[in-house]
């Protein structure tokens, strides 16, 4: 609308001007046919050359460039997609490996634990057996010592009594009578002396 108004104003003003100066210049130069043929000839020549060189040499190059860029971008996207997939697969593999190694570690741990426990119990048993044996031996020794103790003590008592008697009286006393007395006393006081 605005353009229409502008154009009409223009045409009006330009008609005025051309009327005012028609005596001077002779109207619109566009309607002077003197150089029409020349303009047509040069238009066809220049536009023809332009068209041929654009369509034969320049536009195919531009189109090729655009195509090349497009295909390169597509290729890059494809590669990126592929690599992404690959990396996802890698991550999955990695996770799988981790899970596997975890379970492996667990099973190793369990196995070794079992083994060590078995080992420990075995060694414990051996050690317990040894300890028991030693205890028995020690008990036996103790019993032996215990059983032998009254005899030894009796013997010492007899000897001591014989020596004491000899010192007191000054004469030798029959050893068998002393031993009989000592034996008698020790039998009588066994409870009191040894506790059994």
């Amino acid at each position: 609308m605005v353009k229409k108004i502008i154009v009409s104003i223009l045409i009006f003003s330009f008609a005025l001007f051309s009327m005012a100066q028609s005596s001077e210049s002779g109207g619109m130069p566009q309607l002077n046919p003197e150089f029409w043929i020349s303009q047509i000839f040069w238009l066809i020549l220049t536009f023809g050359i332009l068209f041929i060189s654009l369509s034969k040499f320049i536009l195919p190059k531009i189109s090729k460039n655009l195509e090349a860029r497009k295909s390169e971008i597509l290729e890059n996207i494809e590669t990126a997609e592929k690599q992404r997939e690959e990396s996802e697969n890698k991550i999955k593999e990695y996770e799988k490996i981790i899970v596997n190694s975890k379970s492996e570690a667990k099973s190793y741990y369990n196995e070794i634990r079992q083994k060590t426990l078995a080992d420990i119990s075995k060694k414990q048993k051996i050690i317990e057996g040894e300890i028991e044996k030693e205890i028995k031996e020690a008990e036996k020794e103790i019993n032996d010592l215990k059983n032998k103790a009254p005899e030894k003590i009796n013997k010492i008592a007899i000897e001591t009594s014989a020596d004491l008697v000899k010192l007191l009286i000054g004469t030798e006393v029959n050893a068998s009578s002393i031993s009989a007395i000592v034996e008698n006393i020790s039998k009588k006081n066994k409870e009191k002396y040894y506790g059994f």
Binding site: L10, F14, F17, Q39, W42, T46, I58, L59, N65
Partner: protein
């Protein structure tokens, strides 16, 4: 007194008179600017097409953006069947755009402000599109003039209107571009003349107008090239995909 605003559209001979038989094909200022525009387009796009880096430099970006802009314009309006005509429409758009833009340089010449140039371009498009239509659809192309779903009584009238509108296509296409360019440049010249004639006291208003007009004219230069190209695409669409 300001110079005649129509003076800028004068065509004059540069160099000697060249004659082909009886026909005068002398090199003129119009021809000079056609050559300059074509060379500029070739230079820019050649630079843009030369290197093929993944990340484009400025020239390459310019060329590729223009390429995809025109390519999108064609595929949006004329569909995928119009692909073989891409380079023609691209050249056309670029030629018109560069001629319009070079015309914005002071003391230059606007090739597209001459009716004969735009009319030859539009006429070529019209003839080409008509030939393409008849090649693609044979006489079925005439169905273009018979829109579907119109009452039979109205049909003769509609067909006549359609034929007239079809035949006036090259005229409307060429006059649109020519008139826009000529009007814009004339107006700028007129306001420029006002600046001079009103002097330092009153000349500021037309000067600011002139500055604003320059921006508008650059927009119009682009827009008219775009319109020219897109109308070509629409006509091509009619010829390629006949469904009226």
């Amino acid at each position: 007194m300001a110079a005649n605003p129509m003076h800028q559209f004068n065509v004059y001979r540069i160099g000697p008179e060249i004659k082909l038989g009886e026909i005068d094909i002398s090199f003129t200022n119009s021809s000079l600017f056609m050559v300059i525009c074509s060379l500029a387009i070739l230079l820019i796009f050649n630079l843009g097409a030369k290197k093929n880096s993944l990340i484009p430099n400025k020239m390459q970006l310019l060329a590729e953006l223009s390429y995809s802009f025109v390519s999108k314009m064609i595929s949006d309006t004329a569909g995928s069947k119009a692909k073989p005509y891409f380079s023609f429409i691209f050249s056309l758009f670029m030629f018109v755009l560069f001629c319009n833009m070079f015309g914005m340089i002071p003391y230059s010449f606007t090739v597209t402000s001459h009716i004969i140039v735009t009319f030859v371009l539009a006429g070529f498009i019209f003839v080409g599109v008509t030939i393409i239509g008849f090649i693609k659809h044979g006489f079925g192309y005439l169905k273009l003039f018979v829109p579907s779903g119109v009452p039979v009584i109205l049909l003769p009238l509609i067909v006549i209107i359609e034929i007239i509108s079809y035949l006036s296509r090259p005229i409307s296409l060429s006059v649109r571009l020519f008139a826009n360019m000529m009007a814009g440049h004339t107006m700028m010249k007129v306001f420029g003349g006002f600046v001079v004639s009103l002097g330092i006291i009153g000349g500021w208003l037309p000067l600011s107008f002139s500055v604003a007009l320059t921006g508008l004219e650059i927009l119009v230069a682009f827009l008219q090239a775009y319109v020219f190209a897109i109308l070509t695409c629409i006509y091509l669409n009619d010829a390629l995909n006949l469904h009226h």
